[in-house]
């Protein structure tokens, strides 16, 4: 005969039995699902992580030509050499006749005197007209004795003419000078200065006195 204790545990055992039967089904199923996920994860991953680019915010193709260590060489009407060097250059597009330059050095060969040299921080070189517009830290050194600093200058590399402006200071064969504007004709060794001219001359003292 079943003791009373037995009856109470009987129902407990029936619950337990049902739990066990349930677990026999759920557990393998869970294992199966987890297994497939871990196996397929990399592939599932791609689909979810990938993104698509919207076409609007893609930047326009940059057709500008960026250059470094540029070196332009040319000759003037009677075959005298000039060359333009720059650390970096930028052309809107390969066919554009204007090149924006940085850290520029230009030199023009002259007949009687040494070459005329000019330096500047930035500028634009017009390849067709062979002219240079210079801005910032312009320094001029011509064979005929001019060593001048100025704010800006325009150089015609073929005609060997330079116009400068902005706090011109420096020295010439006659003495140190200041002016507001200047035009130098390198071939004829002539220069016209305008505006607030100041010239300091140290005359040479002849030996006998």
């Amino acid at each position: 005969m079943a003791s009373t204790k037995d009856i109470s545990t009987a129902s407990g055992e029936k619950n337990w039995d049902r739990f066990i039967v349930l677990m026999q089904v759920i557990l393998p199923l869970a294992a199966l699902v987890l297994g497939t996920i871990t196996v397929l994860w990399p592939f599932l991953n791609d689909q979810e992580v990938s993104f698509t680019l919207s076409t609007e915010d893609v930047a326009q193709g940059d057709t500008a030509v960026h250059m470094t260590n540029l070196h332009y060489v040319g000759t003037d009407a009677i075959n005298r050499l000039f060359h333009v060097e720059a650390a970096t250059g930028l052309q809107e597009n390969p066919s554009s006749p204007r090149v924006r330059l940085n850290d520029i050095r230009a030199e023009m060969a002259l007949d009687e005197t040494g070459p005329a040299k000019v330096q500047a921080r930035t500028g634009i070189y017009r390849t067709k007209e062979n002219t240079l517009s210079l801005v910032g830290g312009v320094h001029f050194n011509t064979g005929s004795g001019y060593k001048l600093d100025m704010a800006g200058a325009e150089i015609d590399l073929k005609k060997h003419i330079a116009t400068g402006q902005g706090a011109i200071q420096g020295s010439s064969k006659l003495g140190t000078l200041e002016a507001n504007r200047i035009v130098i004709y390198a071939d004829t060794e002539e220069a016209v200065f305008e505006g607030g001219i100041k010239l300091h001359i140290e005359p040479k003292r002849p030996e006998n006195n």
Binding site: G175, E194, I201, R205
Partner: protein, 150 residues
């Protein structure tokens, strides 16, 4: 009265200011225009235009200045005298300044007028001559005797 320009050193530095300057390196000429003012030591020179004749020397940086030609209301001023005329020539090597046209020479109280004046920068003495032509070519002048201090 003793002129302060006596034995003036014509090779001391020269400072020139003007509105415009044309430098012709090959011809060795520098042409200044517009309110030209030249100062050298005790002397100040001014005119409408000024041409400096110079030669640049390759070895020494210093140029040799030979002459300064001034034109148009030329004045020369120092502490002891002031001169004016229509043109002026400063010969650096000869140490001589010549002023021409209607020349006025003021020294202290005395005023002299004439056609042409030569100012010798060694002796500090001015020679004024009234050339023929013009009114009567004679030098006109007024001298004042300094008061005796009573």
């Amino acid at each position: 009265a003793q002129s302060v320009l006596k034995s003036h050193d014509t090779y001391q530095p020269i400072d020139i200011s003007a509105d415009r300057l044309e430098m012709k390196q090959k011809q060795g000429r520098a042409i200044f225009r517009g309110a030209v003012t030249v100062t050298q030591g005790e002397m100040t020179f001014s005119s409408e235009t000024l041409t400096v004749f110079y030669a640049s020397n390759t070895e020494s940086e210093k140029p040799s200045i030979s002459r300064l030609d001034a034109e148009g209301t030329v004045t020369l001023v120092s502490k002891t005298e002031s001169l004016s005329g229509d043109w002026g020539v400063y010969d650096v090597d000869e140490r001589l300044i010549t002023i021409g046209g209607n020349v006025t020479f003021r020294q202290g109280e005395s005023i002299l007028k004439g056609k042409r004046l030569e100012f010798d920068l060694v002796s500090g003495i001015a020679k004024l001559d009234g050339q023929s032509g013009g009114t009567d070519g004679r030098v006109k002048g007024s001298f004042s005797v300094p008061e005796k201090d009573k």
